[in-house]
Symmetry: C2
């Protein structure tokens, strides 16, 4: 027997309609690529998004078509978020930091029909346009005054002219909430990029969950500045959740240095920001150097990589800014866990609380997780036992876009209802999860797992070490043993023995690396991650010392 409640679909357009009707006067403030600050209201965002939806239809964009973007965080990008998805087409945010060849591969794989881009990326798009076989229209996201007098891109369109040519009479169509809304590619360290195709339903449920008090705690009293780019997993969903709660939205454009961000924080009364640790490093550097304070910011979301405990302490102790430690993946829309303390934990001593906050956190309602051993058996939540981390939920990927054959691992696990994150983690009795390694990086010594991240962190704490990677080397008796690859700081002197002695007392003795190799550099990927698979190839025949 079915309930007798209204059938209202969870659609991206309903977020915009809500923002317009119930928070119409709320502001969206953008630092433009053109240099100045632009301000308007949700009411104007909604009206311009409708005009843009008409313009897209006039360009022949129809349901399911992919519209690519190469753009910073700004109001035009936001209009595309709503106009494209709201129309039933698919917003495909491309990461301009990728290599041009990779961009072409992704746009071709996605079969983008339209490509919209900021002025910044005109040279980039000009250099690849001829290779983008599916793109029928190139749109420069600016006004006539900023259009180039000549471009190698044939028929280059002007965003503001497209919008100006339409009126705002447009009714957002109603359709199946499982319809695709947006597409993000995740570029792993190996293999081709993989596309994650979000739905309207997954986006809306993710918005509800991420706005909850124990997640990002979003309200109409917030002014949110997402430093995390809108081309990076939809800026962690903030362009959607801000409309859901009616928060002010402050979009920093290309100005991601400490000074530009700090100015916006202060001038716009920002209460909440969100970004990766390296951005905060720059911001804190600026604030410390000039003896500044945050007068309105009361919390910041740190994700994308683990938040260093020292950064957490500075934010909270020195600046009174709460750090919200979050973990997610492109495949999770992205939020999976958030490190908000539970009631009992609030009364714990500071050090103990900090230890909990340094973990990756507990799940948002909707997501479930578990850790399993090699046979897929669930492992205990004791904060010590580590295993492969699996997740499931309505905003977790079920299969990759246009992937003829997903990796057998994904297909298998998803068949059982769980997505294998590729991370190795522990979970404690309160449900707080800690990532200890990537599963492909874990070192299996005599049947036991050794986490490479812990070993690298210890090496990095040595004053003479600039960078350290720990990989598995083959061992006749133990199958694998840890091998440390190290880049020392300029002019620093360090021996293997000195460095290995540094591990004493810091870790179980049998976890200590068997050997150290000093190198000039460690290969890094486009997003700054160490390419350990290249190191593994390079040191495949490394002979460990007897011991």
């Amino acid at each position: 027997m079915l309930g007798q409640m209204m059938q209202h679909r969870l659609l991206v357009s309903s977020l915009l309609r809500h923002a317009e009707r119930h928070h119409g006067g709320q502001l969206v403030v953008s630092r433009r690529v053109e240099g100045d600050i632009h301000r308007y209201t949700y009411r104007e965002l909604a009206a311009r998004s409708r005009r843009l939806a008409r313009a897209l239809a006039a360009l022949g964009v129809s349901s399911g078509d992919r519209v690519g973007t190469l753009a910073w965080n700004g109001y035009r990008h936001l209009e595309l978020y709503y106009a494209v998805s709201g129309s039933g087409a698919v917003l495909h945010t491309l990461n301009p930091r990728l290599h041009a060849d990779q961009l072409v591969w992704i746009a071709e794989h996605a079969k983008d029909q339209v490509l919209c881009f900021d002025l910044t990326f005109l040279p980039l798009v000009e250099s690849v346009a001829a290779r983008l076989s599916s793109v029928r229209h190139f749109v420069l996201m600016s006004d006539r005054a900023h259009m180039p007098t000549y471009s190698t891109i044939p028929g280059l369109l002007c965003y503001e002219e497209l919008v100006a040519a339409q009126d705002d009479r447009f009714d957002w169509p109603d359709f199946d909430e499982n319809t695709a809304s947006s597409l993000c590619y995740t570029s792993g360290t190996t293999g081709n990029p993989k596309g994650v195709l979000y739905s309207h339903r997954s986006t809306l449920l993710h918005s509800y969950a991420s706005a909850l008090p124990d997640a990002l705690n979003l309200s109409a009293r917030d002014a949110i500045l997402p430093v995390v780019p809108m081309f990076h997993v939809n800026a962690w969903g903030l362009p959607y959740s801000a409309c859901m709660v009616g928060a002010k939205l402050v979009l920093p454009g290309p100005g991601l240095d400490g000074q530009s961000l700090y100015e916006l924080f202060e001038s716009e009364g920002v209460t909440l920001s969100a970004g990766v640790p390296t951005v905060w490093q720059g911001l804190l550097g600026h604030v410390q150097k000039h003896g500044l304070r945050f007068s309105t910011m009361n919390r910041t979301v740190v994700g994308g990589a683990a938040c260093p405990p020292a950064m957490l302490a500075i934010f909270e102790d020195t600046y009174g800014v709460q750090v919200i430690h979050a973990w997610g993946m492109t495949e999770l829309s992205p939020l999976g866990t958030v490190g908000i303390l539970k009631g009992d934990q609030l009364a714990w001593p500071k050090e103990q609380r900090r230890a909990v906050q340094s973990k990756q956190g507990r799940v948002l309602f909707g997501v479930d997780m578990k850790i399993v051993d090699a046979d897929g058996e669930e492992l205990p939540w004791d904060g010590k036992t580590s295993g492969d981390l699996l997740v499931r939920g309505p905003w977790v990927v079920s299969s990759y876009f246009n992937a003829a054959n997903d990796s057998p691992l994904v297909a298998d696990a998803v068949g059982n209802g769980w997505f294998p994150t590729g991370d190795v983690a522990t979970i404690d009795a309160e449900g707080f999860m800690t990532i200890t390694d990537r599963s492909k990086d874990v070192i299996k010594s005599g049947g036991e797992w050794i986490g490479s991240i812990d070993l690298e962190n210890i090496a990095m704490a040595h004053p003479a070490v600039a960078m350290a990677a720990c990989i598995a080397a083959r061992h006749p008796k133990w199958d694998e043993r840890p091998l440390l690859i190290v880049v020392t700081k300029p002019d620093a002197e360090l021996t293997s023995h000195e460095l290995l002695s540094f591990y004493e007392g810091k870790i179980a003795k049998w976890w200590t690396p068997d050997d150290v190799v000093f190198v000039d550099s460690i290969p890094l990927g486009a997003t700054g991650k160490m390419l350990k698979h290249m190191l593994r190839d390079q040191f495949a025949n490394h002979l460990l010392p007897k011991g």
Copy 2:
């Protein structure tokens, strides 16, 4: 094109599974009908709910069957919430405060197959059992020690024995999220009660929205005490949302007097409570009389009737407790609007803020509302123009349970996608709604509407008035004019002229009632509401003085 995200259904059982896995150690504390305090964890709630689900199956309860309850707020009632809905059956919470004949009518209309009830209601159930033709099993929600030695109910079952007979190995079934989960009847002042049949989807979406920071702001750091009964629109959804966020749940059983509640607030560290104004009147009376303070409670949800401004001021100014003014209906699951200030409003002077808080509030994301004139045309949001209030959204009723023909008004409006609340309201520019009347009580004078609630509030503020109702009387020139029906306080003396003079300066002159009739009593319904339709019948031929 569909997105490629996991298909996870929004089911009530997922709330319990989440609470068990991620907040397993969190407490549920109940004041039992038997008199003592009972404590256990979400882990035990989940295990006992699974045993209960097996017990229900053993009694022959299957998908879609209705299981009725007559019970206070307590852990056994909570187990029924999850076991019944989680199994795919329908939890039907009956209101024990209704007249026995009405209860029988409702249980017969719902065709309840099982009836579970607290010890308190044994005499009530014994008195009506023979008339409940569809009920196959009567279950007393207690243990063997409290079972009566003899009962007129044949085959009376013992709840604890049913649970003890089962183990907890039970997998919650997976099914369409639009499946009915629970049923509540709303007893209007006229006509038969109407059943609202909630779905798993509507319940889950309502939980997400109601837990948001701008709604009830629920987290794992809360200890929630719902004074609002679990037989009254699912205690405003708190038994569900508490599991969603992992909050401690404190269930007061039958002890709803000021002293019993205050004791639980303090002993259990309650941070949030929820109930109707009359309950708070009792609580505040107790607290004031004994010079007490609230040491942990920081906010309280007031709904069911408008919160008197004086109560709001006492809670906030004297006791530092934030009042969350909420509006809803059985037909809305129940939450529609919540009176949480927006960012700009926080800086307003106190009086102005209070005026906003006294309104019924702004919508939760998911619900939309509008006010319309007699032709269905949308009216402006100026805080002055009043019109019929319509709502829509995924947790709004679409039709009543087993109703052969809904009222034409409902059918019509729902056909257009909007539910007519029967309320008359204004909405201001910020989206804050204020109820000014029930539409059937509004007075139409010369084509203009006069709100009866305002006129009654003024009369009630006169020191000699005990109760006042304002109804429409027929008028040859203006069609309708306000007529005031008044019960004076014992020994008070009051003339029509004195009372009407009292309106001067308080309201537009043409709103002043044309006449006053003094009566000994005003008829009240079961829930304490004035039965104005009876007054309208009684004074149908009242002759207004010429004027």
